[in-house]
Symmetry: C2
Subunit: 274 residues, 2 copies
């Protein structure tokens, strides 16, 4: 048995392309349909009600495209609205980025102290702490919102003095707290990996949820016998949709995807709003 | 003759409250109806097409509230979409923030070199340079986008090392260019006045468009005999509407308004989207 339908992936913007990159590394034969809500990003500072609304709209749009699996590649939506989305999409598996990242961190912490960095909304919900607590309640979790990291990445400032100073401002307290793992709880943060590692030192391991989310998707599709039968999947066979063709979107997409994006289609916000 | 209808003011978020503050200082008897599109802010990095669409939606919503004047208190929308909005609102005066700021700078520059700082969209359109060029084509205008300033203000970092380093990064080139006036072409920037002045030195004058926009509104209403007949205007008699009750909106509103906001009503994005 096999399933030739595409995998749906969405994020508030282009950051979720880090998950797409890992999906292609593990399953080069799959087709992806990606949605980035670039007309309304970033979601991370909005109210939970609005994040839920936007997340459900994004998910419903992809559901209407006949996908076999939905990946919520946005930490903010995964933290605030994953259950609401799962309730509405009963027919196909729905994966968020929080649980795979939490599992990977639990397997790696020797000190039993994990740090989580992300947007204001992600950290405020305590979603990673809850996910980790369900696996091992004895592990301590420390969250820290780093709201400047997204605009720094969006401006291409992945390695300069301002970024290093911001990293020190946010992360020195993580060192003092004695964590030995930090989950990068936002799809933008892998692009700051070098600056973050340089700030916290090599004793602390950084965990990028994107890789673990892609692994979970592979495990589920394998268990369901739902991998694609084709060998003609990959970038060229996939679709990339955004709600706004923002300035520099091609360079930004390339930075997240690690590859030139073949083409981006713009959809109207009206097609999303219910 | 007089006109008791309110003045409509909108911005992508809460920054436009700096204009409201100045309106109340000059015309304490007026009532304001303010709209902040906090579910979709910031506009500054989006495409011109999307900024036009959002700006027209915001303007139309206020028009439907029976206002006597519309103030576009958003530099990005004023730069990209003012003409489109004026074409649709033929019955009442429409004021943007660009022209009043440009006029004030022209009257003040001795060196005939003016700097303009703002969002990516504001600077890219060259709206201030065009407005200044129409008044005096011999004046040189230098624009610089400062995309980190909005998130720095939103995080309350109006006076720390990161903000000072960002200010140096963006503004040292203005000093080298020999400008003697810098227009703060974004409603968030007045909150960074001290850091910016400290960076560029006291030889350079900073111009906040908010004050000059309020003066223009007063001039027009006076000329039209359309000032409010009441003495019971002001904050308590005004309405403040947002599309999302984002985190910390009360503190942020207070920072921009310079006063406690009496109440904020949330409207649904569906009421705005046409």
């Amino acid at each position: 048995m096999s399933d030739s339908r595409p995998i749906g992936v969405f994020d508030s913007g282009l950051g979720g392309l880090t998950v797409v990159r890992e999906l292609f590394r593990l399953m080069p034969g799959e087709r992806i349909i990606y949605l980035g809500d670039t007309a309304r990003c970033p979601y991370g500072g909005r109210s939970e009600e609005t994040i839920r609304l936007f997340g459900i709209e994004d998910a419903q749009f992809l559901m209407d495209q006949d996908i076999k699996m939905l990946i919520v590649a946005c930490n903010t939506v995964s933290s605030v609205a994953l259950e609401h989305i799962e309730q509405r999409m009963k027919d196909i598996p729905v994966i968020g980025v929080v649980l795979p990242g939490a599992r990977a961190a639990v397997l790696r912490t020797a000190e039993r102290k994990i740090g989580v960095i992300g947007t204001v909304a992600t950290v405020r919900t305590g979603s990673y702490a809850r996910a980790i607590g369900k696996i091992d309640p004895s592990i301590k979790v420390f969250g820290k919102a780093c709201p400047l990291f997204v605009p720094l990445v969006e401006e291409g400032m992945t390695d300069n003095d301002i970024t290093r100073l911001a990293a020190q401002h946010y992360l020195y307290e993580m060192i003092d707290l004695g964590v030995d793992c930090i989950i990068l709880g936002c799809t933008h943060y892998p692009l700051l990996m070098e600056v973050i590692q340089g700030t916290v030192g090599t004793r602390i391991q950084l965990l990028d949820s994107a890789l673990w989310t892609a692994k979970e998707a592979q495990d589920i599709l394998t268990a369901m016998n739902a991998l694609s039968p084709y060998n003609n999947g990959g970038l060229e066979a996939s679709r990339f949709l955004v709600t706004d063709l923002t300035l520099h979107f091609e360079e930004q997409a390339e930075a997240f995807l690690g590859n030139t994006i073949p083409s981006i289609e713009r959809i109207l916000l009206e097609d999303l709003v219910q």
